[in-house]
Subunit: 318 residues, 2 copies
């Protein structure tokens, strides 16, 4: 290899593969991540398997909805990859506050509802949106995403471990990611105003990341790849914790909150529903309850509700 | 009694009592109707009783939330009267598309979820809104309301009886009420776009009724008073129908649709949530499910889904 050749190879290795549009690269990444996440969750469950349902969107785009149900560890887990390649539908444009226009969007979403009420659920997604016809000269483009831990009975230990994982990812991407900001955005985005309560114990949320698209895409990929290591140990820690009817009843109440979040609060779900319709609701809990009475003061259920407030888990918010 | 006195008494009898603000009269009517509805539902249930929880709104107003749970006929019934007397909260103003401003609003809402999957649920409310300080010279004021039948397994017979009741009320108020228009508005307002399905078999929905306030208030009162006669016979007809686990499972699915409607679709619930917060969600079903699979073609469950489309029950839409 000549010195010239060597330099060329070095340059190619260092350079991002900008010869393909960012949206296409994001979509391929999401597809690979979907496979990886499904495998990790199947391995963890040990009993159930995902079924994969590919779909095409009449207006352009489509995706694959992967669902695992009635497992040993997971009552339901859904991993979806989707793309929208065409015109931004009016309801989606309304959520975004832009005019309907040519658009490319791609993303992955993950939700896992555990059988054992001591095993927390996770809710995560990653997405890329481009407005305008030309992928190389878009009118606008940005990345967004989040990862949220949604326990039935919040544990400080689990919350801290989950947040430590995301702080570590953010700290590896200075200038692109900011753990404190993204953590605060997650608390805001997952707050149920009518309950004066957060959905879970938070995590990360980011949106509108426009500058340094290659740097952001790298960060987004790292978030996706870190999902198993941030979540799987928490499942393993709690999967054998004994529980009874009382915990199951409280799990149903907390799943009601989850449904409220998806249906009434979450802007991201509204956006997804505008693109993928009914399919988006496959991630709802298998069942939920709105019981007549809530936990008495002094019970673990009342303590759980108390912990569902924005909290500086890592002691870094000064 | 002199002839003059007699004429004065006749005039007073004929004249509406416009010496009290319309909002105050509406609120008193709703309170009286609440008592009447609670009694009718308790009589029908025969086992459970309502508990009545009065509340005051910090910004002005308040109400009474009446809840009956775990009855023989009703799993949950909620009758709420509420008033807002003060400044229209920003989220409510946003739903209404007006600026936050002084306001008086009062209304009643009713929801009943039956135990037996063959007994339909009902969802109804009535409301009055006034914008501006002066009750006798408001910036704007209008009435709205609705009554919707929400069966698990829709029956043509029940749907027709329910619609006949409302057509009769509308026909007694020409110039104010129009069954065909209000019926169509109900189909529109209760359509779940992501499911391409209506919530139930419809009924009436009206809003923004501004002209002839006394005539409209009379119509609104008649709608309220007709609720027991429109609904109770349907409960009596179905309450003893035998059912099993299969019907209960489908009831849970249909309650999931009900939750979707309240949380994701319904503008009225969003408005109520902006005024009364968490309390508004007491009317959610006690439990709901989002199962992995829906009814196979040819089953009663698939037939039920087929009937959940706007339908000309009375053959009057030509």
């Amino acid at each position: 290899m000549s010195l010239d050749d060597h330099a060329r190879v070095q340059r190619l290795r260092a350079a991002p593969r900008t010869d393909r549009p960012l949206g296409e690269r994001m979509h391929r990444f999401c597809e690979a991540l979907q496979t990886r996440l499904c495998r990790a969750l199947e391995r963890l469950d040990g009993a159930a398997r995902f079924t994969h349902d590919p779909w095409a969107r009449p207006g352009g785009g489509g995706g694959t909805l992967s669902v695992m149900e009635d497992g040993a560890v997971f009552a339901r887990a859904v991993v979806e990859v989707w793309a929208l390649d065409g015109r931004l539908p009016a309801p989606a444009a309304e959520v975004l506050g832009v005019a309907p226009q040519p658009c490319f969007a791609s993303g992955l979403s993950l939700v896992a509802h555990a059988v054992n009420p001591y095993v927390p659920s996770i809710l995560a997604h990653l997405r890329y949106l481009r407005l305008g016809e030309d992928p190389f000269a878009p009118a606008d483009r940005w990345f967004g995403g989040r990862a949220v831990l949604v326990p039935v009975y919040p544990s400080r230990e689990d919350a801290e471990a989950f947040h430590r994982a995301w702080k570590a990812v953010c700290d590896r991407h200075p200038g692109v990611a900011d753990y404190r900001r993204f953590k605060g955005q997650c608390d805001d985005a997952t707050y149920l105003p009518h309950r004066r309560q957060t959905l879970g114990v938070g995590g990360l949320a980011f949106d509108g990341l426009r500058d340094d698209p290659e740097g952001v895409f790298f960060f987004v990929r790292e978030v996706g790849r870190a999902l198993p290591s941030a979540y799987v140990p928490l499942v393993e820690r709690r999967r054998a914790t004994p529980y009874g009817a009382r915990e199951v009843a409280f799990q149903q109440l907390r799943r009601g909150r989850h449904a409220e979040f998806c249906l009434a609060v979450d802007r991201d779900t509204r956006l997804a529903r505008a693109v993928a319709g009914e399919r988006t609701l496959r991630g709802l809990p298998p069942a939920a309850a709105w019981p007549g009475a809530e936990g008495e003061p002094g019970t673990p259920e009342a303590e759980a509700a108390r912990l569902l407030q924005p909290h500086d888990w890592l002691g870094v918010e000064g």
